[in-house]
């Protein structure tokens, strides 16, 4: 067969997406929209309110009796039926899909209820009784790295479960010879791009085949397929993973669904019915995953002219409570390219992998890049400040020279192409840097805090499947066998009427891969993209796949497209051979265009495309003698450049390396601390662009999230491990007014190591934008140590305030610079007048029966000792309702004047402890009750937001006094119940009432 090609008509063009006609109608079937097997039951998960605790007992008897409940599973069931998940390290960090004996982060799955519907399953959660014995939680990464720290996994004997030193070139010599050693330490926060669609799993155990059929929005990589099948003690072929064509966003995060896949498989096997589970937002934010937070101590050996001769990075990457495959990917994915865009031959890297009592870390867009470039590009900026140079000059001084490509970086990355100097030049000119600098001068002259920042980033794409083995020593790697490569797979098929269909091993999450595949195949076949049917569903029992299959590391544009084009070329070659017989020309003279197959230079001598394709179906006997029948081709491709790590620990971590250069001009408002992005220029060399409309879409999207990282997004924990960011009202995603349109610039140096010449483009701004903004803020306010996100309150606390007094409303708002020690702190005080004398109030408060009637939601109140009670109370805060066990102790009694109440509550939604004083004073018309209280709340209730809690506690206190009055007056205590009005207030607060 001879390979020929038509000139590209569609590839490279801004073709509108073929996916959109379905999506815009609301007709796309996401996982939750797909019909489930008859008899499917629904799951709800009980989660830990504690960051660290022993589970002393779990009583599921009452939950099992609830209406519609079929089963309740706990860690013991899981331990019996599954193996712990495999991890990359030989360290005992056992983990199952439900907590076994111990919980290690708030939100960890403890039990699962299977019921007729989701509402009933959730109802039953309240009836599971778990007794915990809390243990001190370890939250701070550097605290966890201390020798005497509480251990997250005692069996591991340390929280630093891996530490490796790497040395490339002669770093000691460089540091000895340098004019200056300049340091900067960064502490990158926990965040995630949080797709709008959460996890969805439908699991069905098929007893005849002893296999599991899974429909889920898992996005790959399929390296975790063996992890799941090993856990389930089944063969790979017995774990059928199906994913739909549409997903509500992934950003890497949907890789972390796999523990739930295993959990629902076990549940289905136990119950004998298909099981569906849909994650809710609180579960997602609390317990799905986060990008690892990371501390980097970065040092540069520099000469006085700004030339960097050596780098030293020590990193502490925080993986939270468990090391879930493919973790610790973010610590190693960039390993080969740790020197970024700079020509620095000498480098030391020390990687520490730290466990803490936080949500396990996982895959998130950027995958280690945002962390590393926050370290590296802040260091570059710091070098400039310390040497009194312009940061842009320091960048230019150190960039990899344009004539050095292909360039082998110190730690092993092989960068195929680039011209970073030209990229900077275009950015400066088209981004009008001179004007921007002048604008900065003008603004500063007016007394404004205005700054300019830069960031230069090398954007890796298409990971080497062997990069993670760099965590093991050379000897360990030799024993385990070499790991490298990355296999891409696509199939092109033609039906009897000549319709071309394509499948491929990307599991798109909204990027428009179907459109690009249609462009590629249409060009080969002389058809239009609309003629091509692309089906992006994937099924591990029916479609070819490899461990590399999936949507991650921007592999689509460097790899999947290559296999699709290869498959299309093979089909085309076959069609050309068939047509050549009839057209009576050599196969290399057969051309494809406009739905016709014709002789080169003689378009009259032509056949319809569908007719040629049909021959392979209708009359295989007519085919050329040596040709196989049928017309379907599957092509696989793995680039040879992705070699395993060598004996010097050098690793070419990715196949392609794009280049991003950003310029940001911004103002920090002196009065509010708010950052206003004034100008943002982002230059991309992504090699050949397959579809400019979609490529720019990736840049806009990554930029949007980059701003979120820079300015507002963080998963916040208190020191005791309570999680405080459980709603989108607490975890602040940027909205349209906060995300200006960036100026996007492009240049092209085609990638030599992939046939279509395309590099990645979807992750660059997630790496460049946060640090570019931080550099600009640092330039504006003249402060080096900046902790992301740069929220107004944080910046206010950094800015000198010899400025005009802020408006009163702002001045009153306390900047929330320090994190609470434990959970959410609530405090309040108030007054109420009760129309009876103090003695009567006193008697009511001290009478268990009367008190029970007064406490809102109290079902039972027992006297368990002198002035000591236990109570069973239901409380609802917004949509989160729960039953709590309360214990209350009265002390410091001065009848009938004052008393101190102390105690706490625990329940499935969390726990609280605190106290308050009540003072009774006789006044005209009765008694004035003065009270103040201070309560700390942990668990789910803490996560859903202080905004609601303050209001809710006021409502509860209000209810208490209304009921007290009603009780004393002999009326119905429920008369004062404000539950109805509370609900309507909540609706009003949320803008719906």
């Amino acid at each position: 067969m001879t390979e020929t090609s038509s000139p590209l008509k569609y590839l490279g063009q801004p073709i509108e997406r073929i996916e959109d006609a379905t999506l815009l109608r609301g007709a796309a079937a996401y996982t939750d929209d797909i019909p489930v097997p008859v008899g499917t039951l629904h799951a709800a998960i009980l989660r830990s309110p504690h960051a660290h605790a022993e589970i002393t007992s779990i009583d599921v008897a009452a939950a099992e009796k609830q209406p519609g409940v079929h089963a309740v599973l706990t860690g013991q069931d899981i331990k019996e039926l599954t193996e712990p998940f495999l991890i990359v390290l030989r360290v005992p960090l056992d983990q199952w899909s439900l907590a076994v004996d111990r919980v290690r982060f708030v939100g960890e799955a403890v039990a699962v209820v299977i019921a007729d519907d989701r509402y009933l399953a959730e109802d039953a959660l309240d009836h599971i009784e778990v007794k915990y014995n809390p243990i001190e939680a370890i939250i701070g990464t550097m605290d966890a790295a201390q020798e005497d720290a509480v251990l997250v996994h005692p069996a591991a004997g340390t929280n630093v479960v891996s530490r490796r030193d790497f040395s490339y070139g002669e770093p000691e010599k460089a540091f000895a010879e340098a004019d200056r050693i300049i340091e900067n330490t960064i502490d990158y926060p926990r965040n995630s791009q949080t797709p709008l669609e959460g996890f969805v799993v439908v699991a069905n155990y098929l007893p005849g085949e002893e296999s599991y059929d899974i429909l889920s929005n898992f996005q790959g990589p399929f390296t975790v397929h063996p992890v799941m099948s090993k856990a389930l003690r089944c063969k790979g072929s017995q774990l059928r993973m199906r994913s739909p064509a549409y997903s509500g966003g992934g950003f890497g995060v949907k890789q972390a669904i796999f523990p739930y896949v295993v959990l629902m498989c076990v549940a289905s096997r136990k119950v004998g019915r298909p099981i569906k589970w849909v994650e809710d937002r609180l579960e997602h934010l609390t317990a799905a995953i986060a990008a690892p937070n990371r501390v980097i101590e970065a040092k540069a050996a520099v000469m006085n002219d700004g030339k960097i001769i050596g780098l030293h990075f020590e990193q502490w990457d925080d993986y939270g409570a468990y090391l879930r495959p493919p973790m610790p990917g973010p610590l190693y994915r960039q390993h080969g390219i740790m020197t970024g865009a700079y020509d620095v031959p000498n480098m030391t890297i020390i990687n520490n992998l730290v466990m803490t009592n936080k949500t396990p870390s996982g895959m998130v867009r950027g995958f280690g890049g945002p962390q590393i470039y926050y370290g590296l590009e802040r260091l570059i900026h710091t070098i400039a400040v310390e040497l009194g140079l312009d940061p842009l000059d320091v960048i230019k001084k150190n960039l990899i020279p344009a004539d050095a490509f292909p360039y082998r970086a110190a730690a092993g990355a092989l960068i195929g192409s680039g011209d970073y100097q030209q990229a900077l030049e275009i950015s400066e000119n088209e981004g009008k840097l001179a004007e921007l600098k002048k604008h900065r001068d003008d603004m500063r002259a007016e007394g404004k805090l205005y700054g300019i920042g830069y960031a230069a980033v090398v954007e890796p794409a298409q990971s080497n499947m062997g990069y993670l083995s760099t965590i093991n020593t050379v000897e360990e790697r030799k024993k385990a066998g070499p790991k490298g490569g990355n296999v891409a797979i696509a199939t092109v098929n033609i039906d009897p009427l000549g319709t071309v269909s394509v499948t491929a091993d990307s599991i798109p999450q909204g990027q428009g891969h179907a459109t690009v595949l249609a462009q590629i195949v249409a060009d080969e076949m002389g058809l239009t993209p609309e003629d091509i049917i692309v089906n992006m569903e994937r099924d591990t029992q029916r479609d070819p796949w490899s461990i590399a299959t999936g949507n991650y590391s921007s592999r689509f544009s460097s790899s999947t497209v290559v296999s699709a084009q290869m498959a299309a070329k093979r089909v085309r070659a076959k069609l050309a051979d068939i047509a050549a017989q009839t057209l009576n020309v050599p196969a290399e003279d057969v051309e494809f265009a406009g739905g016709q197959v014709f002789a080169k230079g003689n378009p009259e001598n032509t056949l319809r495309f569908s007719r040629v394709a049909g021959t392979t179906h209708w009359s295989p006997g007519e085919l050329p003698a040596d040709m196989a029948p049928g017309i379907t081709e599957t092509a696989t491709w793995s680039p040879p450049e992705l070699e395993p790590p060598n004996d010097k620990d050098q690793i070419n971590t990715s196949l392609t390396y794009g280049f991003v250069f950003d310029i940001c001009g911004l103002e920090v408002d002196k009065v509010t601390g708010e950052v206003r992005i004034d100008k943002y220029v982002t230059m991309h060399d992504s090699g050949n662009i397959l579809n400019p409309l979609l490529a720019d879409g990736q840049v806009y999207g990554a930029f949007g999230w980059g701003l979120g990282i820079a300015l507002s997004e963080e998963f916040v924990y208190s020191e005791d491990g309570s999680f405080l960011s459980g709603t989108f009202a607490d975890y602040l995603c940027p909205t349209a007014p906060e995300v200006p349109e960036p100026q996007i610039l492009h240049m092209v140096t085609p990638e030599p190591f992939t046939p279509l010449g395309a590099k990645g483009i979807g992750e660059g701004n997630v790496m460049s934008t946060p640090v570019c903004v931080a550099n600009a803020v640092s330039d504006a306010i003249g402060i080096r140590d900046l902790q992301l996100p740069l929220s107004p309150s944080k910046l206010m606390s950094l800015i000198d305030d010899d400025e005009p007094a802020a408006p009163k409303s702002i001045a009153d708002a306390k900047p929330a610079t320090s994190k609470p020690k434990s959970g959410r702190g609530l405090s309040g005080s108030g007054q109420a007048i009760v129309p009876v004398p103090p003695t009567e109030v006193w008697d009511t408060l001290l009478d268990p029966v009367k008190l029970a009637a007064v406490i809102p939601g109290c079902h039972e109140l027992d006297l368990v000792g002198e002035n000591s009670y236990t109570a069973d109370i239901s409380i609802g805060v917004g949509a989160v309702k729960g039953r709590f066990q309360a214990h209350v102790k009265l002390s410091d009694l001065h009848p009938p004047d004052s008393v101190i109440l102390g105690g706490g509550m625990t329940g499935p939604l969390g726990s609280s402890s605190g106290g308050g004083r009540v003072t009774l004073t006789a006044v005209d018309g009765g008694t004035r009750v003065d009270y103040d209280y201070e309560v700390e709340i942990t668990g789910k209730v803490a996560a859903i937001g202080g905004r609601m809690l303050d209001g809710a506690s006021r409502v509860l206190v209000d209810q208490f006094f209304k009921r007290l009055i009603a009780q004393i007056e002999g009326g119905d205590a429920n008369a004062g119940d404000a539950a109805g009005s509370w609900w309507s207030r909540l609706l009003k607060f949320l803008g719906a009432g």
């Binding site: 509108e16 609301g26 509402y119 709008l196 720019d696 949007g704 349209a736 960036p742």
Partner: protein
């Protein structure tokens, strides 16, 4: 409002995308769940159920409303419109939908139906908004994929041509 019994299903009658419909629902069932599960409208997307993200937005009597903060029983006698109502009888996309496609205003498309419903309700009140007003209106929605630029351009395009 009449007293509703928590355990029993109640009949509700309302207009859905221009057609009179009825169904049975428990008082605690959210409108979002009801539209998806009982009315089979999978264009109603649920993401936060806290009223923050806007994915679940539908129109009730022409006003954009979060269906995750509304109980199904509350739409008795009202007119509910969802994204499924936007394309015309022949299935042709509306000018707004076409503009979203042209300007790449969507990626995963999960936020899109809610945004389209808000934009339509907004343009009824303010047919000629400027960019700031458009962005302000969009701030009731979270999109994690697009960075908003494409959708702002799409809306501007419609504002100019309508």
């Amino acid at each position: 409002m009449p007293q509703l019994n928590q355990e029993t299903k109640h009949k509700i009658n309302f207009t859905l995308n221009g057609k009179a419909v009825s169904g049975y629902t428990e008082p605690r069932t959210l409108l979002s769940d009801f539209l998806r599960q009982e009315m089979a409208l999978m264009g109603v997307h649920v993401s936060c159920e806290h009223g923050v993200c806007g994915s679940c937005t539908v129109q009730i009597d022409g006003k954009a409303v979060r269906s995750c903060l509304t109980f199904a029983v509350q739409v008795e006698g009202r007119a509910v419109d969802t994204v499924e109502s936007l394309a015309d009888e022949n299935g042709e996309l509306s000018d707004l939908q076409i503009a979203f496609r042209k300007h790449h205003g969507l990626q995963c498309g999960y936020c899109t139906p809610g945004i389209l419903m808000s934009v339509e309700a907004f343009l009824e009140i303010n047919p000629k908004p400027n960019e700031d007003e458009i962005r302000e209106m969009l701030s009731g929605h979270i999109c994690r994929c697009t960075g908003y630029t494409g959708m702002v351009k799409a809306i501007q395009d419609v504002v100019e041509t309508r």
